[in-house]
């Protein structure tokens, strides 16, 4: 079992382990490290280049998009204003923001609740139910796509944004698993002490466990926000009205209207892609340590 800690710094003495082979001379060591850094830097440049290419393309006049020059020969920021004139991009932006926050907020609260139930209590059926939780993580989303659509249609909500987040009220297996690990890492004495002081079970969860697990809550929130921000298949199924589109659905519409289906106005498509990406990049830089720690934790399960 793993303790989950969201910590930006490496444990003290971590550098101790990293000492290179004792047999090599300092000069050779420097050369070796320099060689590795150069190689990694080259790969990193390859990973970064597509971003720069995209930003650059979004600023070029139409017939220079494919000239593959990093610095545009002519800078044409009007691409962005033409985009905003042509489609209600800001509306989509707002829609994605609302859907994303609703999805993230509901899933964080409900998953924490369920995770606490699994972590704190001993009760009949606990192991079976937890295995079931793990099992649903493997279930392909496509299997339940159609009946879920029929449910929302029956409820008269199939043409709204509600199906994009409402299921999150019922917790999500992956986050339950993640948060349970956090809760299990809390010292049990804390809870027992609070119990003695007359704290109820819900109080244990809300006033003790939740504040202690703030980093975990942030991890779940930003993960789900990101997932919601990039989801295409559900907006394709549920949203027909352009005014309700989210960013991915809107971007696909732009590609179909301006890109290959339209007049090959790739500079507009590029500008839209940049605008769709920037919020997530900002989110990533603001919450980088949570992302990195949250992902690293996934691989340490069990």
């Amino acid at each position: 079992m793993t303790m989950v800690q969201v910590e930006p710094t490496r444990p003290a003495g971590g550098d101790q382990r990293r000492r290179p082979p004792s047999g090599t001379s300092p000069a050779r060591r420097v050369i070796r490290t320099g060689f590795i850094v150069t190689a990694v830097a080259l790969v990193a440049a390859t990973f970064t280049y597509p971003f720069l290419w995209l930003v650059s393309a979004s600023l070029k006049p139409r017939y220079q998009v494919f000239d593959n020059l990093l610095i545009p020969r002519e800078v044409q920021p009007q691409n962005y204003t033409s985009l905003l004139d042509a489609v209600p991009f800001l509306t989509w932006f707002g829609n994605s923001l609302i859907v994303g926050i609703m999805a993230a907020l509901t899933v964080t609260l409900s998953s924490a609740l369920v995770a606490f139930g699994f972590a704190y209590f001993r009760f009949p059926g606990r192991n079976v139910l937890f295995l079931l939780v793990l099992g649903t993580m493997m279930l392909p989303a496509a299997v339940t796509l159609i009946p879920t659509f029929l449910i929302w249609q029956e409820l008269g909500l199939s043409q709204t944004q509600v199906p994009l987040w409402a299921q999150n009220v019922f917790a999500s297996a992956f986050y339950v698993f993640l948060m349970r690990q956090f809760f299990l890492s809390l010292p049990r004495d804390t809870f027992e002490a609070a119990r003695v002081d007359g704290c109820g079970y819900f109080g244990l969860f809300w006033r003790i466990a939740m504040p202690l697990c703030k980093p975990a809550l942030i991890v779940v929130f930003i993960f789900e926000f990101r997932a919601s921000w990039t989801d295409l298949i559900r907006p394709l199924i549920y949203l027909q009205d352009e005014a309700l589109f989210t960013i991915p659905r809107g971007l696909k519409a732009i590609l179909d209207a301006f890109g290959q289906g339209g007049e090959q106005q790739w500079e507009i498509v590029a500008a839209a892609s940049v605008l769709a990406t920037v919020p997530l990049i900002i989110l990533f830089f603001c919450a980088q340590r949570y992302f990195v720690e949250g992902i690293a934790t996934q691989g340490r399960k069990g």
Binding site: A44, F66, P147, I151, Q167, P248, T277, L280, R300
Partner: protein, 322 residues
């Protein structure tokens, strides 16, 4: 969890049934189920219910407008005979079989190099490698539609530097699948982060011991590194495989939708979930799509079970003497 003992009532051994009933009388049990209620409801309404419903639907002909009519195993028979299912399955499996090992190998190589560098530099490069994974999936599709452009794309421009005349990745049916693989390698940041974190946890004295025993770099990698991170390797294999079998967004963005690209006719970019989605929501063949969904479920189940079985043999768990 020794502390839990204090909350369990000390009682003489009871029969299973009596113990169960006694447990239910405890308020703690009722509270636990209260906490679990959201998930239990969600499981019944949005997982178990829909799975049963789609099983039932898969034996019917249903187009949303008219009531469903029972057709027996017709949908399954159609599935077996449908050449497009065969193509979609082939494309999806080919993608999975190539993408999963390739992406893990590259991610592992980069993670090992990051681990060699260590310190601040490694953290910086990790951020750079992870950034593409933050790009919205639709934007990834759009971006690579441009980068893989056969005439002027960046990928072919880069190949041109080495004197290679790159193919038409986005329009030539023979090359589309490989273009998709190239795209998929850009977003391996998550795998790199997981493997890098695992590598950092390998105790250094193991390498020291191996070195004293005369093991070179490659043997250290094979006999220390790989076993020590086999749990994480296993995890990324399973997760990436399940995700690959469900590949949808990038490819749908690039080749499907309102704009009829000429590729749709060749089916060389037809993935299983794309076919399922089109049958269900564009042609409103909900019965047939449900049969396809159950087909996918069975495939994912079998593949995962096989991997878990194989994993048991290769994964080294700490404290395990095998």
């Amino acid at each position: 969890m020794s502390a839990d003992v204090s909350t369990a009532p000390v009682a003489p051994p009871l029969s299973r049934g009596r113990r169960w009933r006694a447990a239910w009388r405890r308020p703690e049990t009722r509270w636990a189920y209260l906490f679990l209620l959201p998930w239990i409801l969600g499981f019944l309404i949005f997982t178990a219910g829909p799975m049963l419903a789609s099983l039932v639907l898969s034996f019917t002909d249903y187009d949303v407008i008219n009531p469903a009519s029972y057709v027996g195993g017709e949908n399954y028979q159609r599935m077996v005979e449908d050449p497009q299912v065969r193509t979609a399955l082939f494309n999806t499996l080919l993608y999975t079989v190539i993408h999963v090992p390739l992406s893990i190998a590259i991610a592992l190589a980069l993670a090992v190099l990051l681990n060699q560098i260590g310190g601040r530099f490694a953290g910086f490069f990790r951020t750079v490698f992870y950034m593409p994974a933050m790009t919205p999936t639709v934007a990834v599709g759009v971006l690579f539609l441009l980068l893989l452009n056969g005439q002027n794309g960046l990928v072919n421009a880069a190949l041109g530097l080495f004197g290679v005349d790159g193919p038409a990745w986005t329009t030539d049916p023979a090359w589309v699948r490989w273009g998709i693989i190239i795209m998929s390698l850009w977003t391996i940041g998550g795998t790199i982060v997981i493997l890098f974190a695992a590598l950092k946890n390998v105790p250094m004295d193991l390498y020291e011991a191996a070195r004293i025993d005369g093991a070179g770099a490659w043997r250290q990698f094979r006999e220390v590194t790989v076993p020590m991170i086999s749990g994480s390797l296993f995890f990324v294999t399973i997760v990436n495989t399940i995700a690959s079998l469900q590949m949808f967004t990038e490819v749908y963005t690039m080749f499907y939708g309102n704009a009829q690209s000429q590729l749709q006719a060749s089916d060389s970019a037809l993935f299983y979930v794309i076919y399922l989605f089109r049958q269900g929501f564009q042609f409103l063949e909900m019965g047939y799509a449900s049969a396809l969904a159950w087909g996918l479920f069975v495939i994912v189940l079998i593949v995962t079970l096989v991997q878990v079985k194989l994993g048991d043999r290769f994964v080294y768990y700490e404290g395990d003497d095998r």
